[in-house]
């Protein structure tokens, strides 16, 4: 049982390390939604954002190839789950100025009460949503 915690912990430490390095070298917070929005809305001094996003895709590819780890099983949910989920996630993170990385990892790391409240809120509504979809509207 203990074994199942190792890879999440190692992954979490890598995410923390990356966030610290980005702040130490570039002075930027590794909030993915903010980086994405900055990249597509053509902010000045933008090349670092695009390169970070390229790395975000190359990193997993290298991990799976070099360690011969299989890709996760594709989601059994429908395409419209992806559509609705994506729309809500995008709208919510822009309105709330951050996601799991910006508020959860970096904001809490920076002792921001605002980010702590945001993190508790999206964790709670995520849990409630899964409860409703899996246990109230079974199979939706």
């Amino acid at each position: 049982m203990l074994y199942s915690y190792t890879t999440p912990l190692i992954g979490g430490l890598l995410i923390g390390l990356s966030s610290v390095a980005l702040l130490y070298f570039l002075g930027r917070m590794a909030g993915i939604s903010s980086i994405v929005w900055g990249a597509i809305s053509a902010q000045p001094d933008n090349s670092w954002r695009w390169l970070f996003l390229v790395g975000l895709v190359i990193g997993p590819l290298l991990y799976h190839q070099l360690t011969a780890t299989a890709y996760p099983t594709a989601s059994p949910l429908q395409w419209w789950h992806a559509l609705i989920g994506g729309l809500l996630v995008g709208f919510g993170v822009k309105l709330g100025s951050g996601c799991t990385s910006g508020h959860g990892v970096c904001g809490i790391g920076n002792l921001s009460p605002r980010s702590l409240i945001a993190t508790i809120t999206f964790m709670a509504t995520g849990i409630i949503t899964v409860y409703v979809m899996r246990h109230l509207l079974e199979g939706m």
Binding site: I10, L22, I32, L51, S75, L83, F91, S101, I128
Partner: protein, 136 residues
């Protein structure tokens, strides 16, 4: 130099997401399913990451400036207001619907599943809509 550092940071971040299991929607939804057969493992992802940032940010931010930039670009926002709460609420619902938050969704593009592409495009549209609603 800044570009190389950004690329490497992105790679380590993305690898971390893949190693941790965050790019696996089944694991994420299992983690959020605390009233069902709860799989608590993913708590160690944010737990591990926050342990690192909590300690290291404190020391990094004592520096006058970052190594490769003129200054630290921090949000400076402190308000706990309706925008923050409604945004976080909506984001959490979307996360629970499909199992991806923004970083893992982008990293998972490499698995070449068309539904991930739909998710990411919808996410960008959602951001643009919120931006429009916010500036109107």
């Amino acid at each position: 130099m800044r570009g190389i550092v950004a690329l490497l940071c992105g790679m380590v971040f993305g690898a971390g997401l893949a190693v941790s299991g965050m790019t696996d929607t089944a694991k994420v939804l299992g983690f959020l399913d605390i009233f069902g057969t709860w799989v608590p493992d993913l708590a160690f992802v944010m737990g591990g990451a926050v342990c690192v940032t909590l300690v290291a940010f404190h020391f990094v931010l004592k520096r006058k400036q970052p190594v490769l930039s003129a200054g630290f670009a921090l949000s400076g926002k402190t308000a706990i207001d309706g925008r923050l709460l409604s945004g976080a609420t909506i984001f959490g619902i979307g996360w629970g619907v499909y199992g991806y938050c923004p970083g893992p969704a982008l990293s998972a593009l490499v698995y070449l599943d068309s539904k991930t592409v739909i998710f990411v495009v919808a996410m960008l549209v959602g951001m643009a809509l919120a931006n429009k609603a916010g500036s109107a």
